[in-house]
């Protein structure tokens, strides 16, 4: 199965889930799911890139750090991202996010993401051996 993303329900907020053959892919897809809360990821052009590095004591905190770094970059640069590349080296993550400045008319941003939470936070392999990276984000 190809790497993909999905949302899972949470009463007040929203869950993001990335699925992939590798942990890196699952992290990348979770970031696409994050963008999909705000707008259609396919509507975001890859005009510029932003580099992100983080380090955490375990995979789950690393996922939250990665998503929160993206939330921060979106907020301060007034950007949206549609494409991602992640490399993991032990507890260190290096990521690249491609995107563009927000265009309210074209992107129709639905809601702002406040931050990634530890609710329903998992980074693990499922029964088919695919990597899952997921958590609830506060909107």
């Amino acid at each position: 199965m190809e790497a993909h993303w999905e949302h899972f329900p949470h009463e007040a907020d929203m869950g993001v889930r990335g699925v992939g053959a590798t942990k890196e892919e699952a992290f990348e897809q979770s970031a696409v799911a994050l963008t999909a809360i705000i707008t259609d990821p396919q509507s975001v052009k890859s005009e510029m890139s932003v580099e992100i590095s983080c380090e955490a004591p375990d995979d789950e905190l690393c996922l939250v750090d990665w998503l929160n770094a993206l939330v921060y970059e979106m907020a301060t640069r007034k950007m949206l991202f549609g494409r991602f590349k992640v490399t993991l080296n032990g507890s260190r993550l290096h990521g690249t996010a491609w995107g563009e400045k927000i265009d309210a008319a074209r992107h129709q941003p639905a809601v702002e993401v406040k931050g990634a939470t530890y609710t329903a936070l998992r980074v693990q392999r499922d029964q088919k051996g695919l990597w899952i990276a997921q958590c609830v984000v506060d909107v």
Binding site: E11, I38, L61, Q108
Partner: protein, 476 residues
């Protein structure tokens, strides 16, 4: 929620007897119908909060409670520092000091109706709202620190609003002992262009009509009259609060084990009140409270500017400003002793009863206005704090309708354009940058706000004073 897990103490009060590691019972205030609608996750979260060190009396959930992260939204819990009590970033939430304020126009529907479209358009133009919007202010780092220390008092000193406004804001518009130096550069950077912005999601600015008055003597003290128009603003501490929440949730999650705190779940991340992390968070969180108060004050100024274009004589005095995501130190009766407690209210409004010294003189005799935000198609409520609420919930009540459906499900049920058209047929004008945002916030995705207000009233948390229905709604 499974009713068999609860003990019904009265028609409006449900207990979870302590089991396992619970230190105190869980108490939910709601009607049977509201309880049945609540997710079992609310039950789990009320139970989890009851296990935290130093919790006093009970882990409470208000009638609008729904599944949050760590604490339920609509959760109230007080902690005693003398008993190893904790402070929790998840117990406050990401949108620190998110709240509602209500302005009085003194105008009737008949006076406003002919200008409704123009007011909607002008407010939508003037109030920065939605993802990626900029405020009209850009703060230097020095100005940022002044704003974080001064709150609405800072905003008034900058010319946004009047000194009279400050009397009608909790803490007189300035949270003491805020520590801007404990707020990270990142959080400040995230806020530089966001002062005076509405945000998105469930945040809104509404022109509303007072359609019913239930307690005339209290309404009279508040200056609320049936048929008159008011303006409600719902928003919080914007990017700064979100970043502080993000950073301290992580710090507390990592530090919990060092403090000997066993967390049933990481999302309950907390630190002892008397620890470096606890003190740092408290200082930063208080700075974020000031950020929210300043933000709502600047927005108030923008609203007044718009109204003055059409109604030059309308002063738009502030009825009250309440926050519903906070942790505050308050004196409460524990047994026979008054003690300073750290009261967490996450999606819960302070509801101080009559005679409380923190209330401004004109409101003191009748109790604090409790402002309950509804949805763009239903109603909002003004309630008043009661003496009973001080004993029942550390002086706390509900904060809104509370969601009953996920955003995901709401977008499958409704289209934003249809929601806007249907509301327009009922005379309600919506202005929003995003159709999908409107669909996610469709009135049907929320609990029945009338049932929530009724439950708060009947449970003795706050008394119903007036019902407000929207005429114009600006959504982020």
């Amino acid at each position: 929620m499974d009713l068999t897990q609860l003990t019904r103490k009265s028609e409006w009060e449900w207990w979870i007897a302590p089991f396992g590691k619970m230190r105190v019972p869980g108490i939910i205030y709601a009607s049977e119908a509201l309880i049945r609608e609540m997710d079992m996750k609310v039950y789990e979260q009320v139970v989890n909060v009851a296990t935290l060190p130093g919790i006093v009396q009970a882990s409470y959930a208000m009638p609008d409670a729904h599944w949050g992260y760590g604490f339920p939204i609509g959760g109230v819990a007080a902690f005693d520092p003398d008993e190893g009590g904790v402070i929790s970033a998840g117990g406050v939430g990401f949108d620190i000091s998110c709240g509602v304020r209500c302005l009085q126009t003194g105008l009737t529907l008949k006076e406003i109706e002919p200008f409704k479209e123009r007011l909607a358009d002008r407010l939508f133009h003037k109030i920065p709202a939605g993802v990626g919007s900029h405020g009209r202010l850009h703060l230097s780092m020095k100005e940022m620190d002044e704003m974080l220390a001064g709150g609405a008092q800072w905003a008034v000193a900058q010319g946004y609003g009047t000194l009279q406004d400050l009397d009608r804001i909790e803490e007189k518009g300035c949270m003491r002992e805020a520590r801007p130096d404990q707020v990270s550069e990142q959080a400040k950077k995230r806020q530089q262009d966001e002062v005076g912005t509405l945000g998105s999601g469930n945040h809104y600015l509404e022109i509303q009509r007072v359609v019913a008055v239930y307690a005339p003597e209290i309404a009279s003290a508040y200056g609320v009259r049936e048929g008159e128009m008011v303006i409600s603003i719902h928003c919080g501490s914007r990017g700064l609060g979100h970043q502080i929440g993000t950073e301290f949730l992580r710090t507390m999650a990592v530090a919990a084990a060092q403090h000997g705190i066993e967390l049933p779940d990481r999302e309950l991340a907390c630190a002892p009140i008397r620890s470096d992390v606890g003190r740092d968070y408290l200082g930063a969180m208080r700075a974020a409270i000031n950020c929210a108060l300043a933000n709502r004050q600047v927005l108030t100024h923008l609203v007044r500017q718009v109204f003055s274009e059409i109604f030059p004589a309308a002063a738009l005095p502030l009825l009250y400003d309440v926050s519903h995501n906070t942790c505050k130190v308050e004196e409460h009766l524990v047994g026979r002793e008054k003690k300073p407690l750290y009261v967490h209210r996450k999606g819960a409004t302070r509801a101080f009863g009559p005679g409380h010294p923190d209330l401004p003189e004109p409101l003191r005799a009748v109790g604090q206005p409790v402002l309950i935000g509804g949805t763009m198609g239903t109603a909002s409520y003004i309630l008043a704090g009661t003496e009973e609420s001080m004993a029942r919930s550390f002086g706390s009540a509900c904060h809104g309708a509370g969601r009953s459906m996920s955003r995901h499900q709401a977008t499958r049920e409704w289209r934003g354009r249809e929601v806007i058209d249907q509301l327009a047929e009922r005379g309600i004008l919506i202005r929003s940058v995003s159709y999908r945002g409107v669909a996610e916030e469709a009135p049907g995705a929320y609990k029945d706000v009338a049932a929530v207000a009724e439950a708060a009233d009947q449970a003795g948390l706050a008394r119903k004073v007036a019902r407000l229905e929207p005429l114009v709604c600006v959504k982020g």
